[in-house]
Symmetry: C2
Subunit: 394 residues, 2 copies
Amino acid sequence: MIKKCIQIVPGFSWFGKNIGIKDQTLDFGGILSDVPCQAAGVFTKNTIPGAPVIVGKEHLRDGMLQAVIVNSKNANVATQQRGIEDSRDICAMVAAACGITTELVLPSSTGVIGRRMPMNVVIEGCKGLREDYGKSVQHIENFAESIMTTDTRKKIVSAEVGNAKILGIAKGAGMIEPNMATMLCYFVTDAALSSQELKSMLLRVVSCSFNRISVDTDTSTSDTVVIMSNGLAGAVDPVTFEEKLQQMSIYLAKEITRDGEGATKLIELTVSGAKTEEQALLTAKSVINSPLVKTAIYGADPNWGRFAMAIGKVFQYKVDITDLKIFFGSGDKRLCIDTVALDCNEVPLDGISKLLKKNEVHIEIVLGGGPYSERVWGCDLTEGYIHENAKYTT
Amino acid sequence: MIKKCIQIVPGFSWFGKNIGIKDQTLDFGGILSDVPCQAAGVFTKNTIPGAPVIVGKEHLRDGMLQAVIVNSKNANVATQQRGIEDSRDICAMVAAACGITTELVLPSSTGVIGRRMPMNVVIEGCKGLREDYGKSVQHIENFAESIMTTDTRKKIVSAEVGNAKILGIAKGAGMIEPNMATMLCYFVTDAALSSQELKSMLLRVVSCSFNRISVDTDTSTSDTVVIMSNGLAGAVDPVTFEEKLQQMSIYLAKEITRDGEGATKLIELTVSGAKTEEQALLTAKSVINSPLVKTAIYGADPNWGRFAMAIGKVFQYKVDITDLKIFFGSGDKRLCIDTVALDCNEVPLDGISKLLKKNEVHIEIVLGGGPYSERVWGCDLTEGYIHENAKYTT
């Protein structure tokens, strides 16, 4: 089983502190391994990626990393060549402080787009940096806090595989519709796995976890998921390792969605009976991203017609509405909308409304006619999202 | 020029009244021509279309109409075969009252999805219906009001072409991202044009007007645009006619967007310098539909980095950010974001914020590298949208 708490992974040090990028909250954090690690990462598909994404991909090319350095409050995106040089300079300062080479440092930045990094502040923050690292739970918690932006809580998960441990830390909470990658998420482990093994596992795992969530349809320019393995615990069964990594990723992906900007509810949506994998995923994304579905769920309004609308706007696939069923709730308590069996005026609206009032809402849409299914997660759309985002930089 | 008021078109009668479908507001309206009309229409591409869309397409097949009957407060969608029969029955009652054949009546319904039409109420409302029709401005205004749902105002436009007149009436205001068609919109004219001419004009005109707007990315199941020509004024220059029809359609499309649910601002966005037509349109839609862009404009927050993010999530086309320019405002007062010419910390944020405070916001994104451009309209995303939609049916 996975654990929703910190478990120390031998050989990794951490820090999180404030260096004053914007305010007094923690805004600078790092991970350092005692030894060079096999490593793999997946990054945003946004065509205007942040400078740290560009530099991070270069540094990961040989499958080796020894440190991660992250700042919040500034994303270092759309800052042209100067931003790339700033990101390289940060890696070089961290490398010098830790006595490793610059190419072993993976940089990440998250926060506002389109502002240069305040490099004088970062230079000050890097002085005597080696002293900031430590292996305690508190050090790890500080790191998890330092990478937060609009997140309301830290996102941490851990697991064991044989003698080895895995720890994962992530942040959300807006600009979330990852594509092939996602937000910021760091996994460390002492299991011995090659960078090639880690890369193929990570691609599969991300595909059914982080790539299946959406807060607001906006794909961040900074999305990064990285895993580092220092090998100190020796070999493990790779199948079990991947199972745990998948459970941890799904947990963190759900945590990010549940803590989406302004969200009051996590929505788990399954689309089954699709003719193709693509139809299942497009339909799931269409429904989970529909502002009218999201606001109805926020208000616990059993306005199921909006689901029909959102299913029908996947223009590529004709849906036969006589096959369509929509289930609300989970387990024995599921309520079904079936407009053929029921007169649509007999739909159990009160019961559906009651199920929509829970803070985790389970819905299954059965299209009929095919064997494919997909599961995605999203959240409701509330005034809180508007408040968070109308004045973000001012 | 087009006029933002009613101009009476000879040969057409109108009514709008309350029959009690949901409350005491006007909910039932109709148009009747003295003679059969050449007619054309475009309809929603949603694959779960409303029953009236299915019946309306059948009735339009021969390019002839003499009447339109519309109700608000119930969309008659996802109501299976029974809903289609209800829609046919309504056309038959109207036809009987007016002494015409059923196939000359185009039905429309708008409102909540997934409830059967209250046919007993409609049957009562159709009694003595012929007496309700009239040719006065008041009759036309009643019609325009009877088709409204969450619209806060009527949407009416008129124009003259030679001796002929054109009148257009539309409604919005949520579930708006038309695709090949849109919401409800009715044009009548006394110009003599064939249904084939009307159809090809309408397709071109809709493409650059109603198909270029979005309130909330949700494509309605009821979208319908229809034009009826009774020919009483004789032939007109078709090129001038189409120009006017285009101006009228753009005006109504902008009015629908300006009156989008909860909207405080109309956004006009042009994307130019694209390599293909598709790139221009996808980029324009990505930006105009981004919740983070829409909330920033609501708060007049000059968070231009969100534009970069939204441009970059059109994964099919790589954008060279050194070519990218974003202009805010119109005419002489345009302010430019150019991260190559300017250090991004020198961007005129205060000036942009001032421009974003206006209730019409003009933005141009220049991608560089190609000759294609597209213009679209959208609105901001506010608490008002959430309030309108969280409890719509309860």
